[in-house]
């Protein structure tokens, strides 16, 4: 969770039974005033965290060598990036393999939300004036890992062409790569990509952690990439023993000379949260993640030297998804009424211990500098039960109605949130919700099928970083990632226009409009969320995790710049 998790999960680990039991106690205690009808109210604000959300790079010269270990909740389901986008694979795939372009590493970024594209396999890139043709100039002398069948041969433009064509052909990335009309390779080091429609943000899609370049020879020899992942990245896979460990060793022929710094990186399969914590405390694991402020404080008590970074919450990944293409949820008044009947601040206060955001779907830095205030979320995101009731009556449901909600518990707080929403809607609108808690595969199968009725606890993919992924790919009515069942011509027009708008300021303005439209139409009913905290052994340098790129997960590529100071 589920996750394992050998299983694919958004940015949090799948909850284990032990995690559930541990948190259930806290949650029960937290819910007590709520259930007792407490009227405590306060304006939207996060409890300040004593931990920084930005870790500056070390000013000292890096040291080479040593071993990095991490007890991981996730196992890679398979090694084939065409078949899975799971965090189990992504926690190391971007270390073994490169992309054409990438986002900054922690020692290059200006701040935690810096998403300036950098060249990875490409040295430079340029779009045509109509943004339909993108030309990438490759680095010369990039070598595949020196293992059979590649044996360290040079990477050339034809490799990129082959890889992208395979992505388009089948698998989880086909939507992104089917946007490509054709690929030319005028010479060994030039890739020219023709798109079917203009897209200024296309390079961002190539920078997503899942868009790695894999080896043609392996696919041709094995028929798939389930067992071997050979790339051009800073590390090579030495061992991948399922449910035991993944061992990465330094690639001596890596094109970025002198890097990476660490000789070996061991990812130890550790499904139980308490064991991962114990592994960190005992020094068997160098990197750890805790979900809440109180967990971070507890860890600090027993391991005072631990370095803790607040993993900046810039968006919500989960929320109430409605079958908005069917009655009664196709009526915007019903959606607005439901949204206004939910007390989000109370969820932040009681379930997240005051440390969390009210909830919005697009990372805020894409449209403004500061985190949105409660007022900025719009009138339908304020807790106004009386107005909600009035609106629902106008929509023809004065006595409420019955509906269903199915979900998978990605983390224990989610179950509390589902129950609080159920109580809010019963109390304020007389909407009776029958909840079904499902296992991951059942949940995902039903959710992705897109034919369900009633409500679900929806999600966004954990790896999504770029604006195109966050807008067009999730929100356009024709996108296969349109889980939330958008069918809004205004949104379609805005997100399409966004793909044709090169000016940064205009992009921000358009994104703001998308944000406002979404909140006005209540198409995705985002719920409070807290991204959690990353914990490091004190001898690690260049550890900073960047927003949307947790470096124990989808942001793993930045570990290529990490070094051990001991």
């Amino acid at each position: 969770m589920l996750t394992h998790d050998p299983r694919p999960v958004p940015s949090r680990s799948r909850a284990t039974r032990r995690e559930f039991l541990k948190r259930a106690g806290w949650t029960t205690a937290a819910l007590t005033p709520l259930l007792a009808g407490s009227s405590r109210r306060r304006a939207f604000a996060q409890t300040a965290s004593p931990y920084p959300d930005w870790m500056p790079p070390s000013p000292n010269p890096p040291k080479r060598g040593k071993l990095l270990t991490r007890a991981s909740a996730w196992d890679p389901p398979v090694l084939d990036p065409r078949l899975t986008n799971s965090v189990g694979l992504s926690q190391f795939a971007a270390l073994t393999s490169n992309r054409l372009v990438r986002y900054p590493y922690s020692d290059e970024a200006a701040n935690t939300t810096d998403l300036t594209l950098k060249g990875d396999l490409a040295e430079s890139w340029q779009g045509s004036p109509d943004f339909r043709v993108w030309t990438f100039k490759l680095r010369k002398g990039v070598k595949w890992h020196n293992v059979a069948p590649l044996n360290g041969r040079e990477l050339v433009a034809a490799d990129i062409k082959y890889c992208y064509e395979q992505y388009a052909k089948e698998g989880v990335q086909s939507f992104t790569f089917q946007e490509i009309e054709g690929i030319e390779t005028p010479d060994k080091y030039t890739v020219r990509i023709h798109l079917k429609t203009p897209n200024i943000m296309f390079p961002q899609n190539l920078a997503e952690p899942v868009s790695i370049i894999f080896a043609r020879e392996v696919l041709e020899e094995d028929g798939d990439l389930k067992k071997r992942l050979i790339g051009t990245g800073p590390y090579m896979i030495k061992e991948n023993t399922r449910k035991v460990r993944v061992v990465l060793v330094r690639n001596p022929d890596y094109f970025d000379r002198g890097r990476p710094y660490i000789d070996e990186y061991h990812i130890l399969s550790t499904p139980d949260a308490a064991t991962r914590l114990a592994a960190f405390r005992s020094g068997q694991s160098d990197i750890h993640f805790v979900a809440s402020l109180s967990d971070a404080a507890n860890l600090k008590k027993t391991t005072p030297a631990a370095v803790i970074q607040e993993y900046k919450t810039v968006q919500t990944v989960f929320g109430l998804a409605l079958a908005q293409d069917k009655p009664p949820f196709n009526d915007v008044r019903v959606r607005r009424a439901i949204s206004m009947a939910i007390d989000r601040q109370r969820q932040v206060d009681t379930i997240y211990g005051g440390h969390g955001i009210l909830g919005w779907g697009i990372p805020y830095f894409y449209f403004q500098d500061k985190m949105p205030t409660a007022a900025q979320l719009g009138p339908y995101w304020q807790y106004k039960p009386a107005e909600a009731k009035k609106l629902l009556t106008e929509a023809g449901h004065p006595n409420g109605f019955e509906t269903t909600l199915f979900y998978y518990e990605y983390f224990p707080e989610m179950s509390s949130q589902v129950q609080v929403v159920q109580q809010d809607l019963k109390k304020n609108l007389n909407i009776e919700i029958k909840i079904s808690k499902l296992d991951y595969t059942t949940f995902y199968g039903r959710y992705a099928d897109g034919k369900w009725d009633g409500m679900s606890w929806g999600f966004k993919t954990g790896y999504a970083t770029g604006l195109d992924e966050q807008t067009y790919q999730y929100m356009h009515s024709k996108s296969t990632k349109n889980y939330w069942r958008f069918a809004d011509p205004v949104i379609d027009e805005l997100v399409t226009k966004l793909r044709r708008t090169p000016d940064r300021a205009e992009q921000r303005a358009l994104t703001k409009k998308v944000f406002e439209r979404e909140h006005d139409q209540v198409t995705r009913m985002w719920m409070p969320y807290d991204s959690g905290f990353l914990v490091w052994q004190p001898f690690l340098r260049n550890t900073g995790s960047l927003a949307l790129r947790r470096n124990d997960g989808y942001g793993a590529s930045t570990l290529a710049r990490l070094w051990v100071d001991k």
Partner: protein, 316 residues
Amino acid sequence: MYKYVARRLAMSVPVVILSSLIVFGLMRVMPGDALTALMGESGNVSPKELEKLRRDLGLDLPYYKQYLIWAWQMLSLNPGDSIFTNEPISVALRKSIPVTVELAVLAMILGLVIAVPIGVISATRQDKASDYAGRVAAITGLSLPDFWLGTLVITFAAIWFRWIPPLGYASLWTDPWTNLQQFLLPAAVLGFRLSAATMRMTRSTLLEVLREDYVRTAWAKGLGERIIIYKHALKNALIPVITLVGGQFGTLLAGTVIVETIFALPGMGRLTVEAILFRDYPIVQTNVMLVAVTLVTLNLLVDLTYAWLDPRIRYQ
């Protein structure tokens, strides 16, 4: 005896077939399939592509055909490949069975080493302080669930000693020292719980036997306590204990998933649970069949052991 064994083996055939039908049916009734799990949250897979992948994996065949194919694979001792990883199931089993068997055997040994002596002491010192202490320990063992005890052990080991068993798995044959460190704590956790029931059974059966006429006769003959208890009484008292231990061993083989998860051991439990979550039908079916066959065999072995322990028992 051979007739008896043959009859018992013949009787186990319908049990195994019924188990196979149940597990096959249950897996198909569960919503979602391996492809759904594999694709995960990505979602941008068209129904056409999913259909193609299902066809490639044989998931589109009628259920009876899928069952017959699998049954033939099982009979030919080639359970096929995991549909999730493409790894041959025999390879996955070769990796996970030794882990679970080692854990179960070690837990069993530790459990018996703790349980039988304490049970004997409790019975021979009935209502004395040592008896009360043993009974309290047994009740504690029965009351503490594995997951709680395992978590407690690993958490406090980390806080107090800054040590936990090395994560991962080292084979007993290649690195016995690391292997011992990895298995001792989980085996102790499992063994403590097992020992509780065994200790109580040993105590109560031994108390019963100690009141038998032949034991009184032995006392009257002036035999030493040690000889009476260990040679005459304990052997008979152990018959129900062996039944219990046989059942416990079967349960251990099938039910170590929680301890394997806490101590990050790659055994059968984790393999099966993961396969269930991912709807990896061939692995689940093979593992369940393996457990069913093991339990049937263990029960048979337990029954056969009775005769060795008690010559009055005859096979008919």
